[in-house]
């Protein structure tokens, strides 16, 4: 059923994909790709409230597609307003402020970090986490973050059972919808879905979702060895999530959301002892498998750029938030592609002329030899001015064109097994909840095809694993 229009869109998509991936490999495409991480801005542009796009992901998808088409961008995140309240309501997730319920309808959803005393994991629970992170998340963490789900040992309840069933089905439904969304982006406007998969650092996970930042800071002083052990126990699981959610075609990078692993949230010594040693092997292993990681470096990581230089050339795309994009370019530009660095303050509160002027400078200096992607510093909420995004886009079209023929991206690295420990200190393999051996021990001797039974068990069991780790990382 291919028509002229379809072919045109496919050509456009291929052109954009080549532009985007060439830049990400730190090479020079035909022109600077534009890949704005627009979040609640999409809602405003499409005429929806924040409540509408958070409660109805179809509207969020429409809004993202509308932006991609209207601004003619090369790549966008298929839904940067990633929290769908159908899912969070299904299990009564406590840690979100929901537009229209907890916050006004036109304010974006918000993650609410509990105070020190109310942390979802207690200071003396490290051993339980380390022994079996997946079981800990199900048995201890989930009942604390959910208003519905009861812990093992408590009387089971109608609401608890319902919450688990609805939550799991809602997650499947939501994830399934992304496939259609990406295909529609491609077919309607030739736009590339900018990232695939998710990674967060073990230390950030401990702070964000388990101990809270203040609690973790205290633990780092009072029981640093336990914290390190926990980070190591989380590593294989977080690697597994990143690897299994990554782009199988190895074209677009894994999103790595970097919250509080830099100075001054940690000391340089803590970065060296805890943060970096439990991140670096994962990034290297992903690269060995051909996957780039997008370092979404929130805040200013200027103290750590030398550490990032330890990574193989081109293995990451480095996104600049509050750091000085010119300085980062000088210090990392020879090794990695950079993105972002256009201050949100300019985009939200200054005239379009100021935006143009800044973008032009970035294009002239940072993008000069390729390896740069145009974007704001941080995700764009509904305070971003449309005319300023237009100025950023037009300026890039005008001044971001390279002369000469584009360079072609080098091939992905050769796949080789790395040195990542398979289980960390924990007893259960990443990706599983109840391993086949445990299950098999409860069954009579299998007379039929035992491999088939094992295969089906493992594949269904892994869904239980996806469910809990996605809660921890993505929502």
């Amino acid at each position: 059923m291919s028509s002229e229009g379809d072919n045109g869109m496919e050509r456009l998509y291929a052109e954009r994909l080549a532009r985007y991936t060439t830049a990400m490999r730190n090479e020079r495409p035909d022109r600077v790709p534009i890949r704005p991480f627009v979040a609640e801005f999409t809602a405003r542009h499409a005429g929806f409230t924040c409540q509408e796009v958070t409660h109805d992901y179809d509207k969020a998808f429409v809004a993202a597609r509308r932006c991609a088409a209207d601004f003619d961008w090369d790549a966008v995140v298929s839904n940067m307003v990633y929290v769908w309240t159908g899912l969070t309501q299904a299990i009564g997730m406590r840690y979100y402020g929901v537009p229209g319920i907890d916050v006004p309808p036109d304010v974006g959803f918000q993650y609410l970090e509990p105070g020190e005393g109310e942390a979802f994991m207690k200071a003396d629970e490290y051993d339980e986490l380390i022994a079996n992170p997946t079981a800990f998340l199900y048995n201890v963490w989930l009942p604390r973050v959910s208003s519905e789900i009861v812990p093992p040992g408590a009387a089971s309840s109608y609401r608890s059972n319902l919450a688990l069933v609805k939550g799991a089905m809602a997650m499947m439904q939501y994830f399934g919808a992304f496939g259609t969304q990406n295909a529609q982006l491609r077919a309607e406007s030739g736009t590339v879905s900018a990232i695939a998969g998710i990674f967060k650092a073990p230390l950030d996970i401990l702070a964000d979702k388990l101990r809270g930042y203040v609690g973790l800071s205290m633990d780092m002083c009072e029981q640093p060895d336990k914290v390190l052990e926990a980070c190591e126990a989380l590593m294989p699981h977080l690697y597994h999530v990143a690897k299994t959610t990554a782009d199988p075609l190895q074209q677009v990078p894994i999103g790595y959301w970097m919250h509080r692993g830099c100075v001054p949230f940690v000391s340089p010594a803590q970065f060296d002892s805890h943060y970096w040693p439990t991140v670096r092997p994962i990034i290297e292993e992903l690269w060995r498998h051909g996957h780039q990681t997008l370092f979404y470096a929130e805040g200013d990581w200027k103290h750590h750029l030398e550490s990032f230089r330890e990574l193989p050339d081109r293995s990451i795309v480095y996104h600049v938030d509050q750091a000085d994009v010119f300085d980062v370019h000088e210090r990392l530009g020879d090794k990695f592609c950079l993105s972002g660095g256009i201050p949100n303050f300019l985009l939200s509160h200054r005239p379009a002329g100021d935006v143009r002027e800044f973008c032009k400078k970035v294009l002239d200096v940072v993008a000069a030899d390729g390896g740069y992607i145009m974007d704001a510093s941080a995700i764009m909420q509904n305070d971003t001015r449309a005319e300023n995004l237009r100025a950023m886009t037009e300026c890039t079209r005008e001044h971001g064109v390279y002369s000469g023929s584009p360079s072609s991206p080098p091939p992905a690295p050769i796949v080789a097994e790395g040195s990542l420990p398979a289980h960390g200190g924990s007893t259960t393999a990443p990706g599983q909840c109840i391993e086949w051996a445990t299950r098999a021990a409860t069954l009579p001797t299998i007379e039929g095809d035992a491999d088939l039974v094992e295969e089906v068990w493992n594949s269904i069991d892994s869904l239980g694993n996806v469910f809990i780790w996605q809660w921890l990382l993505s929502f």
Binding site: V107, L112, Q270
Partner: protein
């Protein structure tokens, strides 16, 4: 009274138990509580704040030091009320409406307490009315924190509310806030760091 070296060191080294012990020992010796605060704890905290601003210590150390200081304040504060101690100023600190970020705001609270001010922590998501209440309660300097480009503009409303009241100063800070922005909205001051906030408050109170 001179510096109580043991107390000064205990705060500086963020040793909660030692701070409490040093305070109790000093009180038993008959040391005036207000002087323990102003001559020993405040200088120790100021030193830590300055080292934080200079990039020599980090948030975890600040949190530990503030906790140690608090252990001393818990003993001292009830006694201050019965002595003739007058705080060097009354300040209120809050993150503005719509904004839930409080790590930076909490550091500002710590540094102001550590500088000897009486500080009311207004928490996060503060509408103008919260600042009004604080002013009615005696605070003369109001500190606004914001971390989002979408909420920083709310500071203008707080500034506007007190513009005609020369007795109340409004100063602002937080990652996206700049000196230029502070001037544009007519704030009485801007501080880039928590320790600088203490200096800006002091300048405000001195009428500078």
């Amino acid at each position: 009274m001179p510096v109580d070296q043991e107390l000064f060191d205990a705060v500086r080294q963020a040793d909660r138990d030692r701070v409490a012990e040093a305070v109790r020992a000093a009180i038993d010796r008959g040391a005036p509580v207000s002087s323990l605060l102003m001559n020993s704890m405040v200088p120790a905290m100021r030193e830590i704040g300055d080292r934080f601003a200079a990039g020599e210590v980090y948030i975890p150390e600040m949190l530990m030091a503030a906790r140690a200081m608090q252990a001393g304040l818990d003993i001292i504060e009830p006694l201050l009320g019965t002595s003739d101690h007058e705080p060097i100023g009354r300040v209120a600190v809050g993150t503005v409406k719509g904004d839930m970020h409080d790590i930076g705001k909490n550091l500002v609270v710590m540094m102001l307490k550590g500088s000897g001010y009486e500080v009311t922590d207004l928490g996060v998501d503060c509408p103008v009315e919260k600042y009004e209440e604080a002013a009615a309660g005696g605070a003369t300097v109001l500190c606004c924190s914001a971390l989002l480009t979408s909420t920083m503009t709310y500071m203008e409303q707080v500034v506007g509310r007190f513009q005609k009241d020369p007795a109340i100063k409004v100063i602002v800070g937080g990652a996206p806030v700049t000196q230029r922005f502070a001037e544009e909205i007519g704030a009485d001051g801007f501080a880039e760091h928590a320790s600088e906030a203490a200096r800006v408050v002091s300048a405000c109170l001195a009428g500078e």
